[in-house]
C-alpha cells in the first residue's frame, strides 16, 4: 500500500494501540512508532502490545522504533503520547518530517508546563503547519472490543479533516465527524477529563442523580464559557469532544473517574495530579483565571487536587454560588 494510504501512529500506549488495532482490522496499513524496542519486538513477533495485550494487531500493522521509517512511510500521523511527553516527542519527530506531513494529536489535556493547547506545542516542534486534533468518546477497551465509537477530527485545514476521515473511518467500529474548531475541540477534550474527576468525586460522595445532572450541565456551560473566551466556539463543548468524552469516561474504566472516587473516599488527597484529567483540571483553572472566566466547578476540583479544599467543599460549588442566565 502506498504512503498516502498508510496511517502512522506515534506512541504504542493504550489509545495508539487500540486505534492501530481497529484500523489494521479494517485492512488499513498502519505503522506504529514506539521508542521502546521491546514493545516494537513484541508487536512484530507476537502481534500483541504489552500495554494493551487484548488488542489484536493483524498484519497490515507494523511497528518500528525508527522515526525515519515512520516519516517516510506515512504522511498522515496520529500522535498518541501523554501530554507530559508531547513537547519532546514533537521535537524529536520534527527532525524527520517536512511541510507535507499531516499530524493530528489524540491528547485530551493541556500541555505542561505552560498550559498551552497541545496543537500549539506540536506546532512548535514540527515543521508542518497541517495540524489537527482527534477527540471523542472512544475508549481503548471499546475499540478493541469492536464497540461502536465516534470521534471528531478538527483542524483549520480542510485537508487534515478530509484525510483524517478518509484514513481513520473504520465502520462499523469507528466513525469520524469533522470540525473546524480546533481550539474548541482541544479545550473540550482536555476539560472533559477534568470534569470526569469531578463526576467521580460526586459519585464517590454519593450525591445522587440530581446533583450529578446539574454537575454535567454546569460542566458543559463552563467549558463553553472558557472556549468562547479562548476564541473557540461554545457549541463544541456540547459535542463529542466535550460532553461525549465526559459521559464515556464517567465509569470505573476511566482513571480520571477512579481518581475522583478515591479523592471522595479520602484515600488520596493532594497528590492526585497523576492523570491527564487531574492535570487538565489544574491547567484549566489557571487558564480560567488568566482569561477571567468564572468556573466554580473546575476551580473546586483543582482546589481539591491541590489540597486546598475538602471534597465536600468542592461539591458544594456544583450548585454555584451565583445563579446566572443559562
Amino acid at each position: 500500500m502506498s504512503r498516502a494510504e498508510t496511517v502512522g501512529i506515534v506512541g504504542a500506549g493504550r489509545f495508539g494501540t487500540a486505534l492501530g488495532s481497529v484500523l489494521a482490522r479494517a485492512n488499513r496499513r498502519v505503522i506504529l512508532w514506539s521508542r521502546d524496542p521491546e514493545i516494537v519486538d513484541a508487536i512484530q513477533t507476537q502481534r500483541r502490545c504489552p500495554r494493551l495485550p487484548d488488542a489484536p494487531l493483524p498484519e497490515p500493522l507494523v511497528a518500528t522504533a525508527d522515526p525515519r521509517v515512520l516519516a517516510s512511510e506515512a504522511r498522515f500521523l496520529v500522535m498518541a503520547v501523554s501530554s507530559t511527553n508531547v513537547r519532546e516527542r514533537s521535537r524529536e519527530l520534527g527532525n524527520y518530517l517536512d511541510g507535507s506531513h499531516i499530524v493530528v494529536h489524540a491528547i485530551g489535556a493541556l500541555a505542561t508546563p505552560n498550559n498551552e493547547r497541545v496543537s500549539e506545542v506540536v506546532a512548535l516542534g514540527l515543521p508542518t503547519l497541517k495540524i489537527g486534533a482527534l477527540a471523542g468518546p472512544a475508549l481503548p477497551a471499546d475499540l478493541v472490543a469492536g464497540e461502536y465509537a465516534s470521534m471528531v477530527i478538527a483542524s483549520a485545514f480542510d485537508e487534515v479533516v478530509a484525510e483524517g476521515r478518509r484514513l481513520l473511518n473504520a465502520p462499523p467500529v469507528l466513525r469520524l465527524y469533522s470540525s473546524k474548531d480546533l481550539a474548541g475541540v482541544e479545550l473540550a477534550s482536555a476539560l472533559a477529563g477534568a470534569y470526569t474527576v469531578a463526576l467521580g468525586l460526586c459519585d464517590g460522595l454519593g450525591m445522587g442523580v440530581g446533583p450529578r445532572a446539574v454537575l454535567i450541565t454546569r460542566a458543559v456551560a463552563e467549558m463553553a464559557r472558557l472556549s468562547v473566551a479562548a476564541g473557540a466556539e461554545a457549541r463544541t463543548a456540547a459535542g463529542l469532544a466535550g460532553l461525549g468524552n465526559m459521559l464515556v469516561r464517567a465509569t470505573e474504566r476511566s482513571v480520571d473517574y477512579q481518581l475522583g472516587r478515591r479523592l471522595a473516599d479520602g484515600v488520596i488527597t493532594a497528590d492526585g495530579q497523576r492523570t491527564e484529567g487531574a492535570r487538565a483540571a489544574i491547567a484549566g483553572a489557571e487558564l480560567a483565571k488568566k482569561l477571567r472566566v468564572r468556573m466554580p466547578v473546575l476551580t473546586g476540583v483543582a482546589a481539591v487536587l491541590a489540597g486546598r479544599a475538602e471534597p465536600r467543599e468542592a461539591a458544594a460549588l456544583i450548585g454555584d454560588t451565583v445563579a446566572v442566565e443559562e
Binding site: 502506498s2 498516502a4 504522511r75 511541510g99 507535507s100 515543521p127 483549520a156 485545514f157
Partner: protein, 541 residues
C-alpha cells in the same frame, strides 16, 4: 537592527518590465480563461453565462450609481441582453475580451528615465521646490540627500540577500497615501530594487503623484470592481509578476489604517498570490526560485491625512468609508505642505525592515533558507506537495497558509514600530488625561472638558515610556537618531509638531502646562503605542 554589512544596489528587474509586459498580459489571459472554461465545464454557478452576467450586473450597478453618461453603461446592458443568445464559443470569446480589457486596465508601466529622475535629481528638485529657504541656507547637496528625511533601517542586508536570491514582497504597514513614495525612496536608499505594487485607482487622479506612480511600476487596482472575474485577473497578474521575478509590494492591512494602531487584523489581499506563485514555480521545476515576504513598518513623525483618518475611524459604526477620495491627499496644497513641513524635519519618516519569511510564514536563515519554528532547515516546496511528492492544488490550504503568514506579520509589526516624539508625547499626555478622567474610553473623553496637564507629569510619563521601550523590545523602539535626546527636548519637539502642522491643534504649550485642544488628533498619535498596555494604576485609569 541596522546591519553594518555593506549593501550594493540590487538588480532593478523592473527595467525589463516594459519588454515583458505583453508576454505577462498574455499569460494572465491564458490562465484566467483556461481556468474559467474548465470550471464552467463542471456546471453550476461556474457556468460562463453566470461569470459574464456577474460582470455585466456589477458594472451596470456601479455605473448607474455613479451616474456617468459616457456610453459605458450601454456596453454592459448590451452584453446582458445578448447573453441568453450567445453560444459557448461566443461566451468564451467575450470572456477572453473581458480578461484582456481588465488586464490592460490593471497593468503597470516602468519608465527607467522617470525612475532615474525620481531617484536622482527628483528629490533635490522636490526639496528645492518645497523648501526653497532651507535649500539656499543649507546648500543643494544636503537637500539632495533624503537619508536625513526618509531613513531606512532594520534587516536591510538580509532583504538585499533575498532580493538577489529570489523575489521579495515588501509588506509594510499602511498609514498614508504617501506610503508608496516613502517606501520607494526608502528602498532606493537602502540599495534595494524598486518594486511593482497595486495602488488604488483613485490615487491616479492626483496629477502630482500619478505621473510617478504610472511610470514607476504601480498597477491600478479599482476597488469599485467587486466581481470575481476582476479579482481573478488582479490576482493572476500579481502571481505572474512574482513568478517572473518582479519584486512586489503589498499592504497586507488593505486600506490605510484609520486609527493609527499598529495593524493586527490583516486583510492579506494579494499576499496569497505568493503561495500560488511559488507553487507554480515548483511545478515548473524551479523550487529554488524563492519568494520572500519582508515585513516593514513606515513610521511618520506626522501623518498627512491624520485628521481625516481619525475622524473616519471615530465616525459612527458602519459609516466609515472604505475609499476616501476627499482627504488631504486630494489637495495638492496639503501635499506641498507635507513636503515643506514634514519632510523638512530630519528623520521624519523611518522605514524599518524586519527579517523576511517564506510564503508559509517560516523564518529564514541569513542565506535565505527556510527554517521551521525549531530552527531546522525545511524545504518550502514540501508545504505544497502531496503524499507522493506531487504538487497539489488546494485553495483552502493555501488560504490557511496565507492566514498563518498574516499572523506572523501582525506579530512582528509591533516590534518593528519606531516611535517619534509625537507618539511618545501623545501617549504620555493621553495617559495623564485618562488618569484624571478615570477612563480610557475615547468617546467619553471626547465629551469632557479637559483640565491642563502639568508638563512635569508629561515628562515623567515620557520617561516611563522610554524606560519600558528599553526594557521590552517587543513593543518597538524609539527613533534611532534621537535615543540620546533629552526628555524635555522630546516633549518640546513633539508638542511643536502636534500643534503646528495639522489644521487642528492636538496639544498646546502653555508654559508650565499643556492643554489638549483636539482629543481625536491626540488619540490618533497615541494609538501608535496602543499595543503597549498601561503600566499600572498610574496609567490604567
Amino acid at each position: 537592527m541596522a546591519s553594518d554589512r555593506p549593501v550594493r544596489e540590487a538588480e532593478n528587474r523592473l527595467e525589463h518590465f516594459n519588454a515583458d509586459r505583453e508576454r505577462l498580459l498574455a499569460e494572465v489571459e491564458r490562465r484566467v480563461v483556461a481556468r474559467r472554461v474548465t470550471e464552467a465545464k463542471q456546471g453550476g454557478s461556474a457556468a460562463l453565462e453566470d461569470v459574464l452576467n456577474d460582470v455585466a450586473f456589477s458594472e451596470i450597478k456601479r455605473l448607474e450609481a455613479s451616474r456617468q453618461k459616457n456610453g459605458a453603461l450601454d456596453r454592459w446592458k448590451d452584453l446582458s441582453r445578448r447573453l441568453m443568445q450567445m453560444s459557448e464559443a461566443e461566451k468564451e470569446q467575450e470572456l477572453r475580451d473581458l480578461v484582456r480589457y481588465y488586464g490592460r486596465d490593471v497593468v503597470g508601466n516602468f519608465d527607467a528615465r522617470v525612475y532615474k529622475f525620481a531617484t536622482g535629481i527628483g528629490p533635490s528638485l522636490l526639496n528645492t521646490l518645497f523648501s526653497p529657504t532651507t535649500a539656499f541656507r543649507q546648500g543643494f547637496g544636503v537637500l539632495g540627500n533624503l537619508d536625513q528625511r526618509i531613513h531606512p533601517d532594520g534587516e536591510v542586508a538580509l532583504a538585499h540577500t533575498c532580493a538577489e536570491r529570489g523575489t521579495v514582497i515588501i509588506t509594510p504597514t499602511h498609514s498614508s497615501n504617501m506610503d508608496s513614495p516613502a517606501i520607494g525612496f526608502a528602498l532606493m536608499r537602502a540599495g534595494l530594487p524598486p518594486t511593482t505594487y497595486g495602488a488604488g485607482k483613485n490615487l491616479f487622479t492626483n496629477p502630482f503623484i500619478s505621473f510617478f506612480m504610472r511610470n514607476l511600476g504601480a498597477y491600478r487596482v479599482d476597488r469599485r470592481l467587486r466581481f470575481e472575474l476582476y479579482k481573478d485577473v488582479l490576482k493572476e497578474y500579481s502571481t505572474v509578476l512574482l513568478e517572473h521575478g518582479y519584486h512586489s509590494l503589498f499592504f497586507p492591512g488593505g486600506t490605510r489604517c484609520r486609527s493609527n494602531i499598529v495593524e493586527k487584523h490583516l486583510k492579506l489581499g494579494l499576499l496569497g498570490t505568493s503561495v500560488t506563485a511559488y507553487k507554480n514555480l515548483v511545478r515548473e521545476g524551479a523550487p529554488n526560485k524563492r519568494l520572500y515576504i519582508v515585513p516593514a513598518t513606515i513610521n511618520y513623525r506626522l501623518v498627512l491625512e491624520a485628521e481625516t483618518l481619525i475622524d473616519d475611524y471615530l465616525a459612527e459604526t458602519g459609516k466609515s468609508r472604505y475609499i476616501i477620495t476627499d482627504d488631504e491627499f486630494s489637495r495638492v496644497g496639503r501635499i506641498v505642505e507635507f513636503f515643506r513641513k514634514i519632510l523638512a524635519h530630519e528623520g521624519s519618516v523611518v522605514v524599518r525592515f524586519g527579517r523576511p519569511f517564506d510564503p508559509f510564514g517560516n523564518d529564514i536563515t541569513d542565506d535565505g533558507e527556510s527554517i521551521d519554528r525549531a530552527g531546522r532547515h525545511v524545504d518550502p516546496a514540501s508545504f505544497i506537495r502531496g503524499a507522493n511528492g506531487e504538487v497539489s492544488d488546494d485553495d483552502q490550504r493555501d488560504a490557511e497558509y496565507t492566514r498563518a503568514l498574516g499572523r506572523r506579520l501582525a506579530a512582528v509589526y509591533p516590534k518593528l514600530t519606531v516611535f517619534h516624539s509625537t507618539h511618545l508625547v501623545a501617549r504620555a499626555v493621553y495617559d495623564e488625561v485618562c488618569k484624571r478622567a478615570g477612563t480610557r474610553d475615547i468617546y467619553r473623553l471626547m465629551r469632557l472638558t479637559l483640565p491642563p496637564i502639568q508638563k512635569a507629569d508629561a515628562l515623567a510619563g515620557i520617561d516611563r515610556l522610554r524606560a519600558r521601550l528599553v526594557e521590552t523590545p517587543a513593543y518597538g523602539a524609539e527613533h534611532p537618531q534621537f535615543l540620546d535626546q533629552a526628555t524635555t527636548d522630546k516633549l518640546a519637539d513633539g508638542v511643536r509638531a502636534l500643534s503646528t502642522f495639522h489644521t487642528r491643534i492636538a496639544v498646546e504649550d502653555r508654559g508650565e502646562t499643556l492643554q489638549v485642544s483636539d482629543m481625536k488628533l491626540l488619540y490618533y498619535y497615541q494609538n501608535r503605542t496602543a499595543h503597549i498596555p498601561p503600566a499600572g494604576p498610574a496609567e490604567a485609569a
